[in-house]
């Protein structure tokens, strides 16, 4: 499958790993132990600013979403959000943060591991995690469709688009 890197929405994390200067307060969310280690290494770069560091389970879930929403509700313009975790967790947290009012310049994504991808099934509208490369296939655990993982990442759904490999032959 040919991919045009100029137009694909697959994240180029090196380019996205930036944040507007002048932040007054920083919230770090780390997902899992490996991410916590990475977050600890980041701490010195926020020296002198108020930092809230929250350690969450490696996998994104309702608890993490609740923690993030509560934090956003209590925050004021001038805050920054640092997300350290798997690509799936970082994308999911980013989607909640944007829905909660943050803009890209206020969010620093620090993905640590991209083996697992969140794949959105275009047929039953559920998302699952799969250790699969872009362009390869995964089976939707909900509707059993054999999905191609397409090189499109929805920031809203926080997942790669998956569609039935033989959809046009049926």
């Amino acid at each position: 499958m040919s991919v045009c890197m100029d137009t694909t929405s697959v994240p180029r994390w090196d380019e996205e790993r930036s944040i507007a200067g002048g932040g007054r307060t920083f919230t770090i969310l780390s997902f899992g132990d490996e991410a916590a280690e990475q977050a600890r290494n980041l701490l010195p770069s926020f020296d002198g600013r108020r930092v809230d560091w929250m350690r969450l389970p490696a996998e994104w879930g309702d608890t993490a979403a609740r923690v993030l929403r509560r934090q956003l509700d209590a925050s004021r313009v001038g805050c920054r959000l640092v997300l350290v975790g798997s690509e799936a967790a970082v994308l999911a947290a980013r989607a909640v943060a944007v829905a909660g009012g943050l803009v890209d310049e206020e969010i620093m994504p620090v993905p640590i591991d991209t083996a697992d991808r969140a794949v959105y099934c275009a047929h039953c509208h559920t998302t699952h995690l799969a250790g699969v490369e872009v362009g390869r296939c995964t089976t939707c655990p909900n509707c059993r469709a054999e999905l191609v993982v397409y090189h499109h990442v929805s920031r809203h759904h926080a997942a790669y688009l998956g569609y039935m490999i033989d959809a046009e032959e049926r």
Binding site: A20, L72, S75, R76, G101
Partner: protein
């Protein structure tokens, strides 16, 4: 797909703009007049986004060229029955505001269709609106839309004592969401903490003199506001330094155009019969942008972004000049 509208389309087509009639001229303060413009057949006018402006042809300047000024629309934007502009008389200006102040009911005025360059961000959770002096005009338009759509907002209006245009309108629309200031110190004492205590998702909008906008954006930056949350519109572009003379070389036609001190590049090109589309002629609208091939540029416009100015491959000839003896244009 063809879009149809019930509104009768009897106004002059958009590329030619509209010819409207002055319905009423109302003094708002000793220096500000409100002009209500309507279609002569009473038809509804094109709708506009809050914060939009129209470009009004305000007679002709001393060299016979049309004088065009941009004025923000102050009235409701959905299928409006009139366009309202409020204009402060600039005693030392180029004559546009004096021309507006001389208008009488029944006079005809050539205007552009509305242009949106200062629109509200629809995903904002809260709108922090700041008006300085006659910069209240686009802010009033934002307030009308915010009230109509139930958006969260607050207004900070700094004005000279006894010279607050549209104060009645704002008081009626805003209630306790309106904060008034007549002194610079009091305004900043109030704005400083306000910038530090806005909920996530707030966007800041400011219209006023350049000094106010510069200080506000500077303070917002220091309070941690990223650029994407800060929106502003300048007015009252002061008269610029006449500048040094230079030669503009047009690479395609091989023509050299001499630009004297005190004459803009745009005027110099026009006087040689070279037509350049232009509107505001004060470095705001972006209409007259020209490609530059070679030569240092003294950018004096408010339209180009920092990166575009840095690139040095275009300029706004209405205000910007060569930073040296020669400039090569791709004309």
């Amino acid at each position: 797909m063809t879009l149809m509208s019930d509104s009768p389309a009897t106004n002059v087509p958009s590329d030619a703009g509209l010819v409207l009639a002055v319905d009423e001229v109302t003094p708002l303060t000793p220096t500000v007049r409100h002009v209500r413009l309507v279609a002569s057949d009473g038809a509804l006018l094109p709708s506009f986004t809050p914060g939009s402006h129209i470009v009004v042809t305000c007679g002709t300047g001393p060299e016979g060229q049309s004088r065009r000024n941009s004025y923000s629309l102050t009235g409701p934007g959905f299928e409006p029955d009139h366009y309202g502009i409020s204009v402060r008389l600039e005693e030392d200006g180029r004559g546009g505001s004096r021309w507006i102040h001389s208008l009488r009911a029944g006079d005809r005025v050539q205007v552009s269709t509305p242009r949106s360059a200062f629109a509200p961000v629809l995903t904002a959770r809260h709108h922090l609106l700041v008006a300085g002096g006659i910069g209240v005009t686009p802010i009033l338009s934002h307030v009308r839309a915010a009230v109509q759509w139930g958006r969260s907002f607050e207004v900070h209006y700094v004005h000279r004592e006894g010279d607050a245009a549209h104060l009645d309108d704002l008081e009626q629309l805003c209630g306790d969401r309106l904060h008034l200031h007549t002194g610079r110190d009091g305004f900043w004492e109030h704005m400083g903490p306000a910038l530090l205590d806005q909920p996530i998702g707030t966007h800041l909008y400011a219209c006023g003199p350049a000094a106010l906008i510069d200080e506000l954006t500077d303070r917002a930056g220091r309070a941690g506001w990223p650029g994407a949350r800060v929106h502003y519109e300048h007015f009252g572009v002061g008269d610029l330094d006449p500048g040094e003379p230079f030669t503009a070389h047009l690479t395609r036609s091989g023509v050299d155009v001499d630009v004297a001190s005190g004459v803009s590049l745009l005027e110099a090109l026009e006087s040689r019969g070279i037509a350049v589309p232009s509107l505001c002629r004060q470095g705001v609208c972006g209409e007259c942008r020209l490609p530059v091939v070679n030569g240092d540029i003294d950018h004096r416009d408010l339209y180009l972004g920092a990166a575009e100015k840095e690139a040095g491959d275009c300029l706004m000839p209405c205000v910007s000049r060569a930073n040296g003896p020669r400039l090569e244009l791709d004309l």
